[in-house]
Subunit: 373 residues, 2 copies
């Protein structure tokens, strides 16, 4: 294998796949990146057996086709610090040489045969999103999924697909987010219900969206792939039962009070009030009291040792007065992702679910349960 390319081409590829490199595993091949120079393209591959990423770089010159596994961390650090100029990378046996400005780096590589089988996703269900839409969907829904891996179903986002309608749902049992969105089906089958790790969806959301970029999704039996530009993500599906979320969502008739509230104002207030309570013992973390009365929402937090904060926000109120105790973390999460100026917050009672939505918007719903006061 022998290639020539700008330092930036090498760096783009290495950075593109690096998040799939296993940092815990001591198996050399899993802490490595497979480089394949073939048919004018340099392909970078990495996998930690949970996810796999492939990146295809076209901006290179191949003088001799071939492939090699390189130690990921070292080659990435080196690539970052190379001078911004053309480098030559070639192999002799399993040794990799990188040459630039008369200097030379020698790295011990490994036969590509050692690289783990890279998953292939063949599925009947497939479709396409606009990347920016997809990123917004994921941002709004994935806040409700759990980080704790002990109950896998709660770490995923449910994709319920019927034709061009796609519903995403996530819950960690304390709160739930639901979004009705659209995609453009491109596969043979157009119904499915699968659970995708929120972690990988967040990774894809981090990719910078270029003009008109799309996400191509293929859903297999046990895996799902996302293809964006030069990059291909593959992840396992979560093999677990998602709870029946329909019963949790209150009927309209159950709401006894609702408010319209300025999102930025509520966010700033709750953020400040949370200072008092954020260092408490785990079960009390972020307990804030919300008191709705006379077109005013009062936010109250207290820390017996330190002191208390009391703030008031004018709101547009419908229905009765009400008082609930909430985990402020759960409220801040949704306030941080809502792009609307005004939020609608609806209450069913002091200890039954409350719902938050962007005003004049029916595609998204966030639900949480008040704490015991």
């Amino acid at each position: 294998m022998k290639i020539r390319c700008e330092k930036e081409s090498l760096l783009r590829g290495l950075q593109g796949v690096y998040r799939a490199v296993s940092t815990k595993n001591t198996i050399f091949a899993l802490s490595g990146i497979l480089l394949i120079a073939e048919e004018g393209v340099l392909t970078f591959k990495a996998t930690d057996m949970e996810i796999a990423i492939e990146y295809r770089e076209h901006d290179i010159t191949i003088e001799e086709e071939g492939s090699i596994i390189v130690p990921a961390r070292y080659i990435l650090e080196i690539a970052k610090k190379l001078p911004s100029e053309e480098v030559t990378l070639f192999t002799e046996g399993y040794t990799v040489y990188i040459r630039y400005s008369g200097s030379e780096i020698t790295i011990n590589g490994l036969d590509q045969e050692e690289f783990p089988a890279f998953p292939q996703v063949n599925g009947d269900v497939a479709g396409r999103f606009d990347l920016e839409v997809f990123q917004k969907d994921i941002k709004e829904v994935s806040i409700a999924s759990a980080l704790d891996e002990s109950r896998p179903a709660f770490t995923g986002v449910l994709f319920e697909i019927e034709g061009k309608n796609l519903r995403m749902v996530a819950t960690d049992t304390h709160r739930l987010a639901l979004k009705n969105t659209f995609w453009e089906p491109t596969g043979e089958k157009d119904t499915a219900s699968v659970l995708i790790p929120a972690k990988i969806l967040r990774e894809i959301s981090k990719l910078a969206a270029e003009d008109d970029e799309t996400v191509e999704v293929v859903i297999g039996n046990h895996q799902v792939s996302f293809s964006v530009g030069n990059i291909l993500f593959i992840s396992r599906l979560i093999d677990g039962k998602f709870p029946n979320y329909h019963s949790v969502i209150p009927e309209e008739s159950r709401f006894v009070a609702s408010v319209e509230i300025d999102v930025r104002h509520f966010l700033a207030t709750l953020d400040r009030a949370s200072i008092m309570v954020k260092d408490q013992l785990r079960d009390r973390a972020g307990k804030a009291r919300l008191i709705l009365e006379n077109e005013t929402l009062a936010v109250h937090t207290q820390n017996v040792e330190v002191g208390k904060i009391h703030e008031s926000i004018p709101v547009f109120q419908e229905g009765q007065d009400i008082e609930v105790v909430v985990n402020s973390r759960y409220m801040l999460d949704v306030l941080n992702v809502l792009e609307e100026e005004t939020m609608v917050m609806k209450f069913t009672g002091p200890s039954t679910p409350m719902v938050m939505e962007g005003k004049d918007r029916k595609d998204y719903l966030y639900l949480t349960l008040p704490l015991k006061s």
Copy 2:
């Protein structure tokens, strides 16, 4: 006590003294900040018994003089998140009230009597620096001081004062930095030799220099104070014996070779080459081989498991060819602080001290000992 001020005035004072707040100590008064409203000035004081900081804010309105200790971490976090407007802060007994836009924060304070005695520095030796000059001096010298507190003398910077001449020296026994600088004496006595913690000198270096700002220094028997603008730092002096550094600095006649080398180029090369060796066992950390031959300095690093890097830099050479093994960390430290384009590196032999200086500059010297190869 009752004051009114912009949120920013409160925040400036709290942030100014916060670094002296004890984060480990559970004694309330040490994890607190003392506020004193008196004669039109709000004074903020904090101390962890190692250092003490005082900040004087004039941009406030005092309606009632008084003082109170407030819990530092909470009040700082709250002040950061207050809306940018005028706030009113007042006390009732030992309770502090902060009011803004109709909202109210209540914080449990403490009697100022509980605050530890704030050190006073009375000394005959005093003087003044231009802040920017002082910051450059400290940056260049403090890199050689030790972080490990087990041998206190090596964590300090020696100040040797004779009239307007001031020499700063630091060493961690592996390398030594020496700077001859000037100050403007303002005290009764004008000779002294004291050891000041490098940590506090670095803190002062972090202060942003405004136009023509100066640092006023007062040296007492056991303490030293630095006053910059509205802020006063007080630190203990280190009570330890600094090694006799004179014998370590080689006479000119001992140099067998010297090179002039481009600082940016050498820094980039050594930084890249260090990637190979920076994760090695502690005693081998950053071992780099420098080979001077035919107007070229070759830098070579090797990691048996991963590979090796070999780079060459053209240099202006005087004297013989030579080969030394260095700790690249010690070299990078000085390359990172030198502002000159060209550095002079002088060798006395493969296992005896080497010296680095900015070209055409005689006020600064950095010295390190090659490693055993």
